[in-house]
Symmetry: C2
C-alpha cells in the first residue's frame, strides 16, 4: 500500500494538471499497445522481440507503466481489449499486482486472475493486508487462498476469515483491521510519544480510537484535536464521546450515506458488546457510492451487472439476456393486445399509426417518474407515508401533461385525419396512459422495496411494459367504443 499517492515526473512537466498528464499517459499506453498487439504471443511467452523498434516500444511501455499509480494501471486495464490488456498485465511490476487487482472491476479482475499461475498469484497477494486478501479471496482459486493463509500469523488468519464471513454488502466485508487505539486515562503527550514509536500510521488515520481494558469503545480522539490540545490534558477530556460507529452487519450503503452526511474520513466498527473490531475508511465509501449509483443506472437499463467493456461477445450477450427476454415477453403481450383489436384497425387503419404515440409518451413519462423515485429511495428520502403523497403529486403532473400534450396531439391527429373523433380519443387515451404511467411509476419501486428487491432493478423495462400494453389497450379500446 503506498504511503502517499506519488504520480511520478511531476516536477518536470510544469504546471500541467495531473489529470491531463495521466490522460496523456493513457493515450500513449493505448497507442503502444496497438503497435505491440501483433507481437502478443512473443511477449506472452517471454521470447525476446527481434524487431528493434518494437523492442524499444516494449521498453517504453514498461517504463510508462512502472511510473503509473496502481489505480491508474487498473483504469488502463479496464479500457483495453483482451490481448492488449494481457500485454499490459504482463508488464506491470509484480509488486503492484495485488494493488491493481484490488482496484479493477470484478469482471476485469476475473480475466486477470485467469491469466496468472499459482506462484504469480501468491506473490501478488503476499503484501496485502488481511482485509484486502479477504476482498480478493472470493475470486482466487481455493488453493491460492489456502497457501496465502499459511504464511500469515494466527491473528491475521482470524481477520481474513472474519472478513470473509460477511456478505459483500456488509460493513464487515470492507472493514480495515489496521488501526490505532489508546486508553482514555493517559495524557495527550503520552499519546504523541506512543504514536512516534510506530514506523508508519495506517492510511487515513484522522482519529485514534479510545477503548477501555476490554476493548469497549469509549470515544475517538481526532488527530486535529490532539495536535492543538494541551500536552498535559487527559485523552478523556479531549476526545469526542458521541461517535458515529457501525456494526459489522450494517449495510455498506447506509454507512456510505452516513459518511456523506457527516463528512467522515474514518469510523469505528464495533461488535454487539461495543468492542472495537475494526474501522472503515472514506476511500472504500467513495467506491461504494460510485458502485451504488452505477448499479442503479445499469439495473434500470436492464443490464445485470457491471460489464467488462471488452468482454467477449458471448459474455455480454449473457449479461443482457434476461432483460431482453423479459422485454420480448412484455412486447408479445402488447402485441396480443393489438391483435385483439385487429378488426378495429382494419376499419380505421389510422389507429395503427397513432397508437405508438400514446404508448411512447406513457413510457417516457413513466421513466421520468420512476427515475425520480429510485433516486429519492437511494438517498433515503422516501418513507412509506411519503409514497402516498408523492403518488398524488405525480398524478397531478400526469394530468397536466396529459391535458397539454394530449390536446396538442389530438389537434394534430384531427387535422391529419380529418376526424374530430380520432382527436378526442387521442386526448383521452394520452391522458389516461400518462395517469397509468404515474401510478405505476410510483408503485413499482415502492413495491419492489417492500419485498426487499432493488427498486432500480429492470424498472425501466417494467414501466415500459405497462405503458405499452396499457397504452394500446386504452387507445384501441376507446377507439373501438366510440369510433366504430
Amino acid at each position: 500500500m503506498s504511503i502517499e499517492p506519488t504520480p511520478p515526473n511531476l516536477e518536470n512537466d510544469g504546471i500541467e494538471n495531473d489529470v491531463e498528464r495521466v490522460s496523456a499517459d493513457f493515450d500513449r499506453v493505448h497507442s503502444l499497445c496497438e503497435i505491440l498487439e501483433p507481437a502478443f504471443e512473443q511477449i506472452e511467452n517471454g521470447t525476446p522481440l527481434e524487431d528493434a523498434p518494437l523492442r524499444d516500444k516494449l521498453t517504453e511501455l514498461t517504463v510508462l507503466l512502472s511510473e503509473l499509480h496502481p489505480a491508474d494501471v487498473a483504469a488502463v486495464l479496464e479500457s483495453l481489449p483482451p490481448r492488449e490488456r494481457n500485454i499490459v498485465w504482463i508488464l506491470v511490476k509484480p509488486e503492484d499486482d495485488g494493488e491493481v487487482l484490488l482496484e479493477v472491476s470484478d469482471a476485469v479482475r476475473e480475466t486477470l486472475i485467469e491469466s496468472m499461475d499459482k506462484d504469480e498469484l501468491l506473490a501478488a497477494v503476499d503484501d496485502l493486508d488481511a482485509d484486502e486478501l479477504a476482498e480478493l479471496a472470493d475470486d482466487l482459486p481455493h488453493q491460492v487462498v489456502y497457501e496465502a493463509l499459511q504464511t500469515r500469523d494466527e491473528e491475521e488468519r482470524a481477520q481474513v476469515k472474519a472478513a470473509m464471513s460477511y456478505e459483500d454488502n456488509q460493513v464487515g466485508a470492507i472493514m480495515d483491521f489496521e488501526l490505532v487505539s489508546i486508553r482514555a486515562d493517559v495524557a495527550c503527550e503520552v499519546v504523541l510519544r506512543y504514536l512516534r514509536r510506530f514506523e508508519r500510521l495506517p492510511d487515513h488515520t484522522d482519529k485514534i480510537f479510545v477503548v477501555d481494558e476490554n476493548d469497549v469503545l469509549q470515544g475517538v480522539l481526532p488527530i486535529r484535536k490532539l495536535l492543538v490540545a494541551d500536552p498535559e490534558d487527559l485523552v478523556e477530556n479531549v476526545m469526542a464521546k458521541d461517535v458515529v460507529r457501525f456494526r459489522a452487519e450494517d449495510d455498506v450503503e447506509e454507512a456510505a450515506q452516513a459518511f456523506e452526511r457527516y463528512d467522515l474520513v474514518t469510523a469505528p466498527v464495533v461488535d454487539d458488546g461495543k468492542r472495537l473490531i475494526g474501522r472503515i475508511t472514506v476511500d472504500e465509501m467513495v467506491d461504494v457510492i460510485r458502485e451504488e449509483s452505477e448499479a442503479d443506472m445499469l439495473n434500470m437499463a436492464g443490464l445485470q451487472e457491471e460489464e467488462d467493456l471488452f468482454a467477449p461477445v458471448w459474455d455480454s450477450v449473457k449479461n443482457r439476456w434476461t432483460w431482453l427476454a423479459v422485454n420480448l415477453c412484455t412486447a408479445f403481450v402488447a402485441s396480443r393486445v393489438i391483435g385483439a383489436f385487429e378488426g378495429s384497425i382494419e376499419k380505421i387503419v389510422a389507429l395503427a399509426a397513432l397508437m405508438p404515440i400514446v404508448a411512447g409518451i406513457g413510457g417516457n413519462s413513466g421513466n421520468q417518474t420512476i427515475t425520480m423515485i429510485v433516486r429519492a429511495m437511494a438517498m433515503g428520502q422516501l418513507t412509506d407515508t411519503q409514497a402516498g403523497r408523492l403518488l398524488k403529486k405525480e398524478v397531478g403532473v400526469a394530468l397536466a401533461n396529459g391535458i397539454i400534450w394530449g390536446t396538442v396531439m389530438g389537434a394534430v391527429s384531427w387535422l391529419l385525419y380529418g376526424s374530430l373523433g380520432i382527436g378526442l380519443v387521442m386526448i383521452a387515451a394520452m391522458t389516461l396512459n400518462l395517469l397509468l404511467a404515474a401510478t405505476v411509476g410510483v408503485l413499482i419501486p415502492v413495491i419492489m422495496e417492500k419485498f426487499g428487491r432493488d427498486p432500480a432493478l429492470g424498472s425501466s423495462v417494467l414501466i415500459t411494459a405497462v405503458t405499452d400494453s396499457g397504452g394500446f389497450l386504452i387507445f384501441l379500446g376507446l377507439a373501438t367504443l366510440f369510433l366504430l
Copy 2:
C-alpha cells in the same frame, strides 16, 4: 461548521446502529409534522398554540430537530411537502440555518431562502466560511450578499469574490481557503509547536502544505508522517514532493476521479505560478461523485435537473417538459413512418400487432448499449480509438441477439399467423433493428461528447426515437417488399 459530527443521545440507546436511530428520528419528525400541519398558520405567525397536546408535539419536534445533525435536518427537509417543510424550517436552530442551506439540494434551497427575510438570511450566513458564503451567493438576494460581504474583512471579501468567479463545475468554486501551510526548512518539532498555537485546525486536515516565501507549493507534509517523524528532522526531508494538485480552473469531476483513484482526503489548489491558493477536500468530492452519477441517471431519463420531490406540480411539469416534447416529436415521426405503410397494414393487419415488438427490442437493447457507454465515459475509460472497437463488439452482440431472439419471435409469429413469410420478415427486421440500435447506441454518446455535450443528456429518449422509427421502417418496409 461542526468540529466533529455529534449525533446526540448515543450513550443511551445501547448498540443500536446510528443509521437506524436517525431513520427512527425521521419517522418521528414525519408523524409530528403531519399532526402539526393543520396548525401551520399559527406556527408560521408565531402565535402560541391553544391546544395543549399540540403544544407538546411542537416542543417535542423542536427538541428532536435541535438534536439532529444539520445534514440530517437537510435530509428531513428534502423529504417533506411544502407546508410541513416550512414548519420544520421555522423550528430549526437559527445557528444551524447556514449549514442546512449548504446541505440541501438546489431546488429545496430555493424554497427555503424564499421563506426567509433579509435579517434571517444575514444571520444564517454570518458564521459561514468564505467558500461557503460563495457557494450560497448565487441563490441569495443581491442585497443580502452585499451586506454579508460588508461584515467580512478585506481578505475574506477577496476570497468570496474569487470563489464566485468560477463556474459551478470548476475546482475554484468548491475550494476551501482555510488551510495550514509551513516552510520546508523548519524541524518537525517546530511544526508541532506551531500547530499547537491554533485554536482549531481546519476540517479534514490530513496534510500540511509546504510553501516557499512566495507561497509556491513545495510539497505536502502528511500528518501521519509528521506524527512518527523524528522531531529534529527537517520538514523537507519528511514531506512528499510528488503531490496531486489542481488548478482552480480544473473540472471538478476530473478532480473527483483523482480523489477516488488516489484515495485522497485533501489536495492543494495552485494558480498558474504554482502558488498555493486553496485546497479541496474529500467531503466535497463525495458530493460531486453523487451529483454526477445522479445527473447522468436523471439526464438519461430526460429529466432536466434534480427535482424537489415535493415541488409544486407546475414546476415538475416544466422540469419534464422539454424531453416529453422531444419524445412527442420523435413519436410523431415514427407515426408518420407507419402512416406511409397504411396500405400494407390494411392488407396484412398482423403487421400492426407485430411492429411494436421489433421497435421495442431495439429500444431495450439500445438502452443497454448506451448505458454502458455513458458509464465508461463517466469513468474516463473510453478514448476515441476505443470507440471503433467497442462499436465492433456491440455489433457482434446485436447480431447474436438478433439471430437468437429474432428466430424465437419469428417462429412464434409463423405459428400465430400461419405465414412463413411473416416469420422470416420478423427475423430479418429484428436483427437489423438490433444492429441499428447497437450502432446508434455507441455513436450518440460519442458524438455528444465530441461536441462537448453531456453524453447522458436525453440519450434514452434519442435512442428510443431511432429504434422506434427505424424499427417500423425496417419491418414495414421488408413486409411491403416481400409479403405483398
